[in-house]
């Protein structure tokens, strides 16, 4: 496909803006634009294939072979970047085959291990289809509920829907069914025990209401159709899968944390030896803000150097020849024309190595001169000029150069001392061929000891200016350091020369460079290697503009800059004297490094670093020093190190560890995606086709009540819970249920309800069931398509996500208790009734223990609408928790040391005198317990003094006069199967003031009771013990019964809600007023 014109135009703009490093003139860019225009006007599809665009533009924009190849690279980079990167990566890998081979097995092993671990994990967590179905329902045993004295004053309820009466609604009650009339009214029996009534009507949801719900209105609701999820398209719910993903991603997260930790450490640049060829990274350094050589000065110099010079030509000067021939009287006298031409220069300079900074400085100068059309041919030599080479590396002798460039002006850049024999002082042998050039000059910072027959100038711009002038003059430079004149290489050695007078050397260098130049020398010692572009950057930062050129000229002549290395001993010395300038220098250096860029053309200024610390090179000869990028591991950088910019951490991608980590991360991502797909596939394979169903509440009253409570919480506006932590779960439901039903802890033990296996093993999940979802028990609202919808959630959960299912269908409906209207404080009643000590500050001021309690009350209000009912319960509150607690301990499982479950013999042994020794079977049978066989024995209260339990009973004031004076009152011990189940005391008139006795008893227990006028007794539960005081009507005694919860009760007990003795609970049998 042919790139669009716009893209090409953008490419040209990118080339032109200078960031690419490509240089072309405006004329060339205009030509390129014109070419594009013409190409697009023509039939480009046929004539120019896409690949030819670079070949079409290159001829216009390029002027040399180097530029052409650079252009092709840039074009590829612009339009085919990935390919270029791939090639680069391939080249890199080719460059270091050993390194790759060394790491490859490590990569492979790591990736394989990770794949195995992740694969095994996924296989383990992938849910398997159920192999067998286990259905076990174990309803929990309910604690015994009690009831208060109630009085019904209304006899029916009204069933309505949307303010309209619902006819033919059915009321299920105690095995009977009653229908509403056309006004929706259902008559209730006047004497009914507290229980639950279920109201049903066709097309409506069943409603379960507590009885007595007198004079109330039951509002029926229509069932809401449930929108089913698609059978095959739904993703797994977020949380279950998310949990698995989180588990699988944990190793990856740890890796990431490790990498972050690694990256946070400081990076340092330090010089290290390397025993193997390191993989260098080339960084493009920022362009210079201002040219090293002032343009105006260069232009001036170029003008001087390009000044045309006169020379003879082979052409005939016609007019001169005619004139001269005339002068010679017609004798042909040719006159050759003179012509002027620009001089051409041959610069032959010494270059110690490729990084020789003096050679770089000269290159810079020549390059600027070339820019101004001075023709200079450049050749290099190393110590001996007789062998020279050009930029391409082609080698020439001086004689060859003389043949190739005969008319050039020769500039020989070499220290003058190297031109002479050290002993004789005569010019060296290679000096002779130089005489082939008519115009020649020596560029040196030092004057030769003897004349060389050619002018001498400094190898700087000023030196060339003097040569271009009419009268070359000696260059006045400060004296070169004497210590560096002879064998300057010794100062480059790693070990400080023993005989060296380093302080003297420093002084000489300081005098030579000047103060500013010496500062630059010190600054150059900071970076671990000497680099030309760093030298320039520091010069630009530290030196005034007018001094840079001169200082750099002198600085580059020093041996360290010629050899491009500075020994550490010298660096330490120089850095030690930097003083207050050190922060400034380091900041300048960091700013410079911060602007480097990766990936650059050769033409740009570059900086080479080696990412990563070198491998150990024990026993191997170190090849060379390089500047390595490594971690400082949190330690403080020493003087010889430079902190690298943070962004250089990208070079750590070359690290083997990092590559392993990235490989593992990639694998983790792949496995996560794959794992999710497998989970989805698994679910899709086992999904069932869906159908529209309407969720039905459970038929079981208890489960139905839970369902209604959950529904009320789920749908009642303003009654929902906002905080996630207060999301309703079974604990809340059970508390509400206990509030409503009078049941304490409806689920005594989890194991009694727990089904074996996961939810996916269950045969069926039905609405009203309780499930364990993410560790919380919740109620199933609806089931469809094999998925369950929970209250308080719109997401259909797979059975795979539900861990445990509790089936409440077998749970018995607990007996109901009287309820207080919502305006009162139901919590106090509940506490007293259930025997739970409430955290109460006084009568009628108890605070609800929790938010769930408030919700319970709200829901209670929503469910029960008996706003106008009379008080049906006695208000009981705890006045003295401490005494109550002590008492409750004594009465928790018996009376003092008389514990329920003791045999007749054991009980009898506690008595003094004992009951007759008749044996258990000889005891009389209590008829009121029939048909249960309950036997009893009795003693007078006055006869139990001295026993432990008598002491305990004597704590209660009522017992004291009876035990001291009583001749009629007695105490009965009742046994069932030779186990003590009940202790019953009968107080006759020998106990004085039984009314006060009763009140004292209640008071001693710490209970505060507001007795209604017709109070007949009180009943409460402490722990596993029921306590009841039934007031007797004279001559009948008052009866105090203490019995074990759940044990048999006499059929005549008024607190026993059986049909036969219901008349005892009648409010009409009013007790004597107190």
């Amino acid at each position: 496909m042919i790139p669009k014109e716009l893209s090409i135009a953008e490419f040209l703009d990118w080339l032109r803006d200078g960031h690419s490093g490509f240089e072309a003139s405006d004329q060339q860019y205009l030509a390129a634009r014109e070419l594009i225009k013409r190409l697009l006007e023509s039939d480009t599809e046929k004539i120019f294939p896409a690949a030819a665009w670079s070949r079409l533009l290159a001829p216009v924009l390029c002027s040399s072979q180097t530029q052409q190849s650079e252009f092709y690279d840039l074009f590829d980079k612009w339009f085919h970047k990935p390919k270029l990167e791939n090639e680069t990566a391939a080249q890199n890998s080719q460059r270091t085959p050993a390194k790759w081979n060394q790491d490859r097995w490590l990569y492979s092993l790591a990736v394989l291990t990770f794949a195995i671990v992740v694969g095994w994990t996924i296989v383990r967590i992938l849910p398997k289809p159920p192999k067998h179905i286990v259905v076990t329902t174990t309803p929990g045993s309910l604690t015994t509920a009690s009831k208060n004295y109630v009085e019904l004053t209304n006899v029916g309820i009204r069933v309505e829907f949307a303010d309209a009466p619902v006819g033919y609604a059915k009321l299920s009650y105690d095995g009977l069914t009653k229908s509403s009339d056309h006004d929706g009214f259902i008559a209730l029996p006047k004497s009914a025990p507290a229980t639950y009534l279920q109201v049903t009507a066709d097309g409506f949801r069943p409603a379960v209401v507590p009885f007595p719900k007198t004079n109330g209105v039951v509002v029926l609701t229509r069932p809401t159709p449930v929108t089913l999820p698609r059978a095959d398209g739904r993703w797994l719910s977020t949380y279950g899968t998310g949990l698995r993903i989180a588990l699988m991603a944990l190793p990856s997260l740890l890796f990431i944390l490790w990498l972050i930790q690694r990256w946070r450490r400081a990076l340092e640049l330090r010089r290290w030896e390397s025993a193997m060829e390191p993989r260098m990274r080339r960084l493009g350094t920022p362009p210079r803000k201002e040219p090293l050589f002032p343009t105006s000065e260069i232009r001036k110099l170029a003008t001087a150097l390009r000044r045309r010079r006169s020379e003879e030509s082979a052409e005939l000067d016609v007019s001169g020849t005619v004139e001269k021939t005339c002068h010679e009287y017609g004798w042909f006298s040719p006159v050759y024309a003179k012509r002027t031409s620009e001089p051409e220069y041959l610069f032959v300079g010494e270059r110690k190595n490729l990084l020789d900074q003096q050679a770089r400085l000269q290159d810079e100068l020549l390059s600027r001169l070339r820019d101004h059309d001075v023709f200079v041919q450049r050749y290099y030599f190393q110590s001996d000029p007789s062998i020279c080479s050009d930029l391409k590396g082609d080698v020439y002798s001086l004689n060859e150069l003389a043949v190739m460039h005969p008319h050039y002006e020769l500039w020989l850049a070499l220290d003058s001392g190297a031109c002479l024999e050290p002993v004789s002082g005569e010019p060296k042998a290679w000096f002779t061929p130089l005489e082939q050039w008519r115009e020649r000059a020596l560029l040196s910072f030092t004057q030769p000891r003897t004349s060389l027959g050619m002018p001498v100038a400094a190898p700087t711009r000023r030196g060339l200016e003097s040569l271009a002038g009419d009268s070359p003059h000696r260059v006045a430079v400060k004296p070169y350091p004497k210590l560096l004149l002879d064998h300057p290489e010794r100062w480059v050695q790693r070990v400080e020369p023993p005989e060296a007078n380093t302080p003297q050397l420093e002084l000489q260098v300081l005098l030579y460079l000047g103060k500013e130049g010496y500062l630059l020398l010190q600054a150059c010692a900071v970076y671990p290697a000497l680099a030309w572009n760093i030298t320039l950057a520091l010069a630009a930062e530290l030196l005034p503009a007018d001094q840079r050129e001169d200082v750099l000229g002198k600085l580059s002549s020093l041996p360290w800059f010629r050899h491009s290395t500075m020994p550490d001993w010298l660096r330490v010395r120089l850095l030690g004297r930097l003083g207050s300038n050190e922060p400034r220098v380091r900041l300048a250096l960091r700013n410079f490094l911060d602007q480097t860029k990766v990936g650059t053309s050769e033409k740009k200024e570059t900086l080479d670093i080696v990412p990563g610390k070198p491998m150990q090179s024990q026993g191997r000869l170190a090849l060379e020093d390089h500047v390595f990028l490594s971690f400082a591991s949190g330690r403080r950088l020493d003087k010889l190190s430079v902190e690298a910019p943070r962004k250089w951490s990208k070079f750590l991608r070359d690290s083997a560890y990092l590559r392993i980590s990235l490989a593992l991360l990639s694998m983790a991502v792949i496995w996560l995606v794959l794992g999710r797909m497998l989970l989805e596939l698994n679910h899709w394979l086992h999904a069932q086709p869906g159908q529209l169903v309407t969720p039905e509440p459970p038929s079981n009253p208890f489960a139905a009540e839970l369902y209604i409570v959950a529904k009320a919480l789920d749908t009642t506006p303003g009654r929902g819970l906002s905080s996630k932590s207060e999301e309703p779960d079974l604990i809340l439901y059970s508390r509400i249920a206990s509030d409503v039903l009078g049941v304490k802890n409806p689920f005594p033990t989890e194991t009694s309800l727990r089904l074996s296996g996961r939810a996916s093993d269950q045969a069926e999940i039905r609405p009203g069931m309780v499930v364990d979802y993410r560790g919380r028990l919740q109620i199933v609202e609806a089931v469809a398509n094999g998925k369950a919808k929970l209250f308080h959630s719109d997401i259909w959960r797979s059975p795979l996500e539900l861990n445990t299912v509790y089936d409440l269908s077998g749970m018995a409906m607990p007996p109901h208790v009287a309820l207080t209207p919502p305006s009162n404080n139901p919590r106090s009643d509940i506490s007293a009734v259930s025997g739970t000590p409430a955290n109460n500050n006084g009568a009628g001021t108890s605070a609800l223990p929790s938010r769930s309690g408030q919700v319970a009350q709200s829901v209670l209000s929503a469910v029960i609408s008996a706003e106008n009912g009379p008080p049906v319960a006695t208000r009981v509150s705890v006045a003295s928790p401490r005494l109550f607690d002590d008492t409750s301990k004594k009465l928790s499982d018996g009376v003092g040391e008389l514990q329920f479950g003791m045999s007749w013999t054991q009980v009898n042994e506690k008595l003094n005198p004992q009951f007759r020794d008749s044996g258990y079977q000889g005891l009389p049978i209590a008829g009121e317990f029939a048909p249960t066989e309950v036997r009893y024995m009795w003693v007078r209260l006055s006869q139990i003094q001295g026993t432990e339990f008598a002491n305990y009973l004597s704590l209660f004031k009522p017992f004291q006069p009876c035990m001291q004076n009583g001749s009629q009152s007695y105490i009965v011990f009742l046994f069932q199967n030779d186990q003590l189940i009940r202790v019953s005391s009968r107080f006759f008139n020998d106990c004085p003031d039984r009314d006060q006795l009763f009140k004292d008893f209640v008071s001693d227990l710490g209970l505060r009771i507001d007795f209604p006028p017709d109070t007949k007794g009180v009943n409460f539960t402490i722990g596993r013990t029921n306590v009841s005081w039934l007031l007797g009507t004279d001559p009948n005694p008052d009866t105090l019964d203490i019995w074990k919860v759940g044990s048999s009760v006499p059929t005549t007990d008024i607190f026993n809600p059986t049909e036969s003795n219901r008349h005892y609970a009648s409010p009409t049998t009013s007790a004597k007023p107190r």
Partner: protein, 335 residues
């Protein structure tokens, strides 16, 4: 026609004067045509750009890579003649040399002796670019500037001009050409400063070649289109051989060996002062063919013959052709 054998150069017998020995025809004769030239795809694109923009095309590349042939190929391809109008730059060349030469001595002599033509135009000899510009102007418009014997068809015509090895010329040479190349116009002071300007439609197509021995002025480079002919690879060499030499295929054993040998000689494994290029390869193959070697043979089977012919391939001072052949044979054995 029977090809005469090579003379025995070692025989002491001297042939009598006037009876020179008959030499075989040059192996290169008839092969240095544009028809067999295989231009680099990049070069073709550069030609296209040149045709669109009508700018001079500067071609660089190693010696022997076909820079000169490229101009002839373009001329031939465009039907402008078998060969381009050629100007060989020299160290003494001046800008005027590219357009015409004026025989001032002859004119002076004629004026002195009153012998010969007294018209200045008769002493003018147009060179490559001058000829091309003259041909790009209708004949009737330049009758006064046409020297005797100048071929002009009458209507304006296009030409391809080759300025070979422009880097040999003095630095002033390209600088002096800037205006002339841009406008395709020049003046002849000897004819009263007669201006000759090519018609826009028929402006000559100028191709310059350079061996990059000298940097050309940037002002000149900016006005040129540039293309560097890359070093041919083995496959390119094979195609060139098939095209230029003919009668052989790259799959022939001898050709395979030759291609291997030249690839080896151009590689960095060998230190040669002068690396063989396309022209040397063609010469080498032509010589081998002339010596009657069979294409089914291997170099190792005809080692002496190959060694004798290697002088066409190895030309650098100090380069040892025998050593090169031995080194290559060693690589063949190891592989």
């Amino acid at each position: 026609m029977n090809t005469p054998p090579l003379p025995d150069l070692e025989n002491d017998t001297q042939l009598p004067p006037g009876r020179p020995v008959e030499l075989p025809e040059s192996a290169r004769s008839g092969r240095n045509t544009s028809q067999g030239y295989l231009p680099d795809p990049g070069l073709l694109d550069a030609f296209r750009v040149m045709l669109l923009l009508r700018r001079p095309l500067l071609i660089t590349g190693e010696p022997g890579t076909g820079k000169t042939q490229a101009a002839n190929y373009l001329s031939w391809k465009l039907g402008l003649g078998e060969k381009a109008l050629r100007f060989d730059a020299k160290t003494t060349s001046s800008a005027r040399d590219l357009f015409y030469n004026y025989n001032s001595i002859g004119r002076f002599h004629a004026a002195q002796t009153r012998e010969g033509s007294q018209k200045s135009v008769d002493y003018i000899q147009f060179t490559a670019l001058g000829t091309a510009i003259l041909r790009a102007i209708p004949r009737e418009e330049v009758l006064d500037a046409l020297p005797p014997g100048f071929e002009h068809q009458g209507p304006p015509a296009q030409s391809v001009v080759l300025i070979d090895e422009v880097d040999k010329a003095p630095r002033d040479f390209p600088n002096d050409l800037l205006n002339e190349l841009e406008n395709m116009v020049f003046h002849i002071p000897e004819l009263g400063n007669r201006e000759l300007r090519a018609e826009a439609k028929f402006q000559p197509l100028v191709i310059l070649t350079s061996n990059s021995e000298k940097n050309l002025p940037s002002a000149f480079l900016r006005r040129c289109i540039f293309f560097h002919i890359p070093k041919p690879g083995k496959e390119q060499f094979a195609r060139i051989l098939e095209s230029r030499v003919g009668g052989l295929k790259a799959t022939d054993p001898l050709v395979e060996d030759i291609l291997d040998l030249i690839t080896f000689a151009r590689s960095s494994d060998v230190e040669l002062n002068k690396r063989p290029a396309t022209a040397e390869l063609i010469d080498f193959v032509l010589v081998l063919r002339s010596l009657g070697v069979n294409l089914d043979q291997r170099i190792k089977d005809i080692e002496p013959t190959v060694l004798a012919s290697l002088c066409t391939l190895v030309k650098g001072e100090g380069d040892d052709k025998a050593e090169l052949l031995k080194a290559w044979l060693r690589t063949q054995e190891t592989s």
